[in-house]
C-alpha cells in the first residue's frame, strides 16, 4: 500500500500540453502512474503520450473516472484550475505552482475544506510512491533517493528532501510515500492532515518530517502525537536552527517573527510528544535505525 497515489489512482493532468506538463506526464507514466487523460483549453482532440486531451475538466470527467488531478498550471491560473477540479468532483489535487498569491491559496484551502478534498502544494515537487506512481516532477530513476520502502516522508523543501532522503536510503531504508507539502506560508495540506493517512498505511513503519523554521506545522504534528492520533515512530529534521529572527530564509514561510516559528520551539514540542529530532541530515538514518525494527526491511 501507499498513501494518496498508487498504480490504481486514475489521474487527470491539467495543463498537459505545456512544456512541463508533457515532459512530466511522460515520466509519471514511465514510473507506472495511471494517467487517463489531460486538459488544456483549446486543445481537445490532441493526444499526449497517447492520452486524450480535453478542453475542460468537466468534459474529461464525462469520459473518464478520475481520482486525482495533477496541475501543471502557472500560479496566477492555479486557483481557477483547482476550483475546476473540485467542482468536477475530484477530491485529490496536487499543484506544483511556485508563486500562488496568498489570498488565493487561502481560498483554495477553504474550497478544499468545503469539498472535503485534499489539495497538496503549491511550491512543491508533488507526491511520489517510489517504484509505483507519482503526481509531480521527481526524477524517480535516481535510486539513491527514490527507493521503495517503509518510511513515510513529508517535507516542506525540495532540495533538502534529496539530501535527507538520500541519508534515509543510505541507512538501508526506503520510502513508502513522499509528500511535498511545499514551502509557502499557506500550504493546501498541512503535515498534521497527512498523518492519519500514514497511520492507516500498512507499508509505513515510521515517518520522517523535513521541516524548517516558520509557521506551526511541526507543532501541530506534535499535538497529533500527544493525542495518540499518530502512534508510529517519527523522526524530524528541521532546517534553520541557527537562523536569525526576522530574516526570510529562502521560502516565504521560513521566517521567525515576533518570537514565533523558531526551530527550538518545534524541537521542544516534537520531543515532548515522543518524536526524535536529528540535528544533522546524517543523523536521520541513525535515529530511524533506533526506532524501526529490522532496518525497515
Amino acid at each position: 500500500m501507499s498513501i494518496f497515489v498508487d498504480r490504481d489512482t486514475r489521474v487527470l493532468v491539467q495543463g498537459i500540453t505545456g512544456n512541463e506538463g508533457s515532459f512530466w506526464t511522460k515520466h509519471m507514466i514511465d514510473l507506472g502512474t495511471n494517467v487517463v487523460g489531460g486538459v488544456t483549453p483549446g486543445k481537445e482532440g490532441q493526444r499526449v503520450e497517447d492520452r486524450p486531451v480535453y478542453h475542460s475538466v468537466r468534459r474529461a470527467v464525462k469520459e473518464h473516472k478520475v481520482d486525482a488531478a495533477m496541475l501543471f498550471v502557472p500560479p496566477r491560473f492555479t486557483m481557477d484550475a483547482v476550483l475546476e477540479a473540485l467542482e468536477s468532483g475530484i477530491r485529490k489535487v496536487v499543484t506544483i505552482a511556485d508563486g500562488i498569491p496568498l489570498h488565493e491559496m487561502v481560498k483554495i484551502r477553504e474550497a478544499s475544506q468545503y469539498h472535503q478534498a485534499m489539495v497538496v502544494g503549491g511550491n512543491t515537487s508533488g507526491i511520489i510512491t517510489p517504484g509505483r506512481a507519482m503526481l509531480g516532477m521527481f526524477p524517480h530513476w535516481i535510486e539513491r533517493v527514490y527507493k521503495s520502502g517503509s518510511i513515510g516522508v513529508m517535507t516542506r523543501s525540495g532540495s533538502l528532501t534529496n539530501e535527507v532522503t538520500a541519508m534515509v536510503v543510505a541507512s538501508g531504508f526506503g520510502v513508502s510515500t513522499l509528500v511535498g507539502v511545499g514551502g509557502d506560508p499557506v500550504p493546501g495540506t498541512r503535515f498534521a492532515e497527512l498523518l492519519p493517512l500514514y497511520q492507516e498505511d500498512e507499508q509505513t513503519e515510521a515517518v520522517v518530517i523535513i521541516g524548517e523554521l516558520g509557521g506551526t506545522m511541526e507543532e501541530e504534528v506534535a499535538d497529533m502525537m500527544s493525542s495518540k492520533a499518530f502512534t508510529k515512530p517519527l523522526v524530524a529534521f528541521l532546517g534553520g536552527r541557527t537562523a536569525p529572527e526576522g530574516k526570510r530564509m529562502g521560502h516565504a514561510g521560513a521566517i521567525i517573527s515576533g518570537g514565533k516559528g523558531s526551530v527550538q520551539s518545534k524541537i521542544e514540542a516534537l520531543e515532548a510528544a515522543g518524536g526524535m529530532v536529528a540535528s544533522r541530515p546524517s543523523e536521520v538514518g541513525l535515529l530511524l535505525k533506533e526506532v524501526v525494527k529490522g532496518g525497515g526491511k
Binding site: L102, Q113, S125, S157, G158, L160, T216, G250
Partner: protein, 373 residues
Amino acid sequence: MRLFEYQAKEIFREEGIVTPEGILTSSAEETAAAADALGYPCVLKSQVLMGGRGKKGLIPFIQERKKALSEASRLFEGQWAVPRILVEEAVDIERELYLSISVDPERAKGIILVSAQGGVEIESLAQDDASKIHTEYFSLTSGLQSFQITDLSYRITIDAQLVKQFRSIVKALYVIFTRYDAELVEINPLFITKQGALVAGDGKLMIDENSMERQKRFVRTREFYESDMEFEAAQAGIPYLQFDGDISLMCAGAGLTTTVYDLINYEGGRVANYLEFGGPNYRKAYEAMELCLRNDSKVILIVTFGTIARADIMAQGIVDAAKALKPDRPIVTCIRGTGEAEAVKILREAGLEPLFDTEEAVKAAVRLSKEIG
C-alpha cells in the same frame, strides 16, 4: 514586501482612516521647516523598515526648532542613515488600541486582532494575557460581514460614540487587506485622542510576495534593502541575504541552503552570505559567483543536490564563471544529483576537486576559512 510607514499611511488616508498631520522630509533643513509648519511639540519618525524604532531612538519627540535640526542631522547622518523622516504633529492621547488583519494559515481564514491595550508588541501581549486580545475570523471567499464588525466593536470596551468610527476603520482596513493582497495590515497604536477621535498612530502594510505581479503601485528601490548587495541580487532574481562572516554560500534550494548555513554555525564557521543558486537560477553561476566574490569572504562553498536542475550544467557554469572571474579564494564544491558523473569530470578537469558529502564539504570550508585567517 513591507511598505514604509508613510506609504501605509498614504493608503490609510485614501480609504478614510485619519492619521496625524505629517510632512515627509529628506534633509535636516526640510525637517526643521516641517516642524515649524506643524508646530511644537512634534515627532520625528524615521522611515526605516526595522522594528523597535522607539527603543533605538529613531522616533524622537521634539519641543523646539533647534532640537528638530540636531535630531534630524543625527538621524540622517548617524549610524542609521535614515533615508526619510516623517515629521508628525503630537497627538493628545487618551488611550491606545491595537488593530490588525492578517491570515491564519491553519484555519485558512482571515483574522482580525483587536486589543484595548495598544502600543506594545501584540506577541508579548499574547504571552502576558491572551484574554486582552479579541479575535474575529472571516472567510476570504465570502468576505468580512457587517455583523462580525458589529460584534467586535462591542467586545472591546470603547465609548459608544466611538463605535461608529471604529466600525469604519475596520471596514477600511479590510478593503486595504483585500485590495493590496496584504499579508498583514496593522495599526499599532490606534490612538483614541482626548478630543474623542480615532487616529492611526502608526501604519504597517506587508504585501504578499506572490502577488507582486499584480501589485505594481510600489517599486522596490534600494532603500527597501539593508545592503547594496541584497538589492543587486534581488534585481538579478537571486535569493540573497547578507551576513558578515568568512564563508560565501552558493547553494541550491532554500531548505538545503538554510541547512548548510546551520552546519557552518555548528562547526564554528561564520557565513558571509546566503545565496541560492539552483532551481530556476541554476544557469546563473556567473552572477552568483560575482556576488560572492564582492564579499570580503575567504571561501566559497557550493553545495547542490539537483534533480531537475542538472549537476553537469551547474558544474559547467561554475567552471566558466571561475575562468572569467578568476576567484582570489578557494572554492569547495559538493555537487550531486542528475548528471553527477559528468559534473565530477568537468570540475576535475578545471582543477576543482569535488566532495560528495555535505557535512564533509562544510567542514572543509570552515577549516579553510580559519587557515586563511
